[in-house]
């Protein structure tokens, strides 16, 4: 028997008054599939099952979801990593409103991203060629710019659950530091001023769920620590 027991969160606002868990039997033919492959097999059984997906190789960030209790990307999570006792439970990312099944409304997550002004700011006239940056300066962006906005981190963060409208969250703060750390960005002071309130950065309690779930192996907690250091250096 290679039938995998999958329990999946279902909710269609048009037909369901409340969400429920639906059981699927999926024949994996003994292969160590990715969770996304399993979702596709389930969609062949029930075309109404809704989930997002695009690149299927872990770079687009579409299919962040909660698999057996842990957030991650379905497309790069092999069954062998998550399945216990032949059972897999799939739920949408926690803490965001559900639109349908595994699809969540990421509006507030994107809003926090936009809030940190996620673009390079440099009002000095641009040279005719590129702005120069030493390899050492560029190295500071490694571990920051690779974020794919999948929201696995922010939706695993209790501080973000409680205050998603005020706490920027790990993803947004990682990007905030990506620009604070860029030698080409000149808006450091403005960026810091915008972050010094008790919520935006300081609601981080160092729980480090973000680090534990990031599918790209990034470390938002470290970036948040660096922002705090910069704030402290700037204000004292």
């Amino acid at each position: 028997m290679s039938n995998l027991q999958v329990s999946v969160y279902r909710y269609n606002p048009e037909t369901d008054s409340a969400p429920y868990m639906q059981e699927f039997q999926v024949d994996t033919k003994g292969r160590d599939l990715m969770v996304l492959d399993v979702l596709h097999l389930m969609k062949e059984q029930d075309s109404g099952l809704a989930f997002r997906r695009s690149c299927r190789e872990g770079v687009c960030g579409s299919d962040g979801m909660n698999m057996n209790g842990k957030n991650g990307l379905a497309c790069i999570t092999p069954l062998s990593d998550v399945v216990k006792n032949n059972k897999l439970t799939l739920r949408p990312l926690p803490g965001l409103p559900v639109i349908r099944d595994m699809v969540v409304d990421m509006g507030i997550f994107y809003k926090q991203y936009e809030r940190i002004q996620p673009y390079l700011q440099n009002e000095t006239p641009a040279p005719a060629i590129e702005r120069l940056q030493s390899p050492e300066e560029r190295d500071k962006l490694d571990g920051l710019y690779e974020c794919i906005l999948c929201a696995c981190c922010s939706t695993s963060c209790p501080s973000f659950w409680w205050n998603p409208d005020k706490f920027v969250g790990p993803a947004g703060l990682l990007q905030s530091y990506r620009f604070l750390a860029d030698s080409r960005d000149t808006a450091t002071r403005e960026r810091l001023t915008d972050l010094e309130d008790p919520f935006s950065v300081f609601r981080c309690r160092g729980i480090m769920n973000c680090v534990a779930v990031c599918p790209k192996g990034l470390n938002p907690t470290r970036a948040i620590g660096k922002i705090r250091e910069m704030l402290l250096a700037d204000a004292t």
Binding site: S159, K166, E196, P198, T236
Partner: protein, 115 residues
């Protein structure tokens, strides 16, 4: 920037810094107390009140009292903003907390310098 008017220092950075500084003060005070008690196994009332009659000990203790007040305010304010989503409930809780902290602080000062 998220605005707020009920936090301790109106700034996340100053709250954060205060939380850490007060924690250090409380840690030092605790270590001192534990060490004092260990080195004075046969502690009696006169030795104890003698300690608190010294000015440096009163200043040290007052510092610890203020620290615990600030630390509690910042910490409990955070807890209320996390878990109490109804504004009325949250402001009510915050009022009670600040009142309690104030009472304990004044009472503490009275004990230290009174009599």
């Amino acid at each position: 920037m998220v605005t707020n008017i009920t936090s301790f220092g109106r700034s996340g950075l100053s709250d954060w810094l205060m939380q850490r500084v007060s924690a250090v003060v409380l840690a030092v005070y605790t270590v001192f107390m534990v060490a004092y008690l260990l080195f004075n196994p046969d502690l009696d009332y006169y030795t104890w009140s003698g300690l608190f009659n010294q000015t440096w000990m009163r200043i040290f203790s007052l510092l610890a009292f203020i620290s615990i007040a600030a630390h509690a305010w910042i910490g409990l304010w955070t807890v209320t903003t996390d878990y109490l989503k109804s504004t009325r409930l949250r402001v009510g809780a915050q009022t009670l907390i600040i009142l309690a902290i104030f009472v304990y602080l004044v009472w503490g000062i009275q004990i230290l310098w009174g009599a």
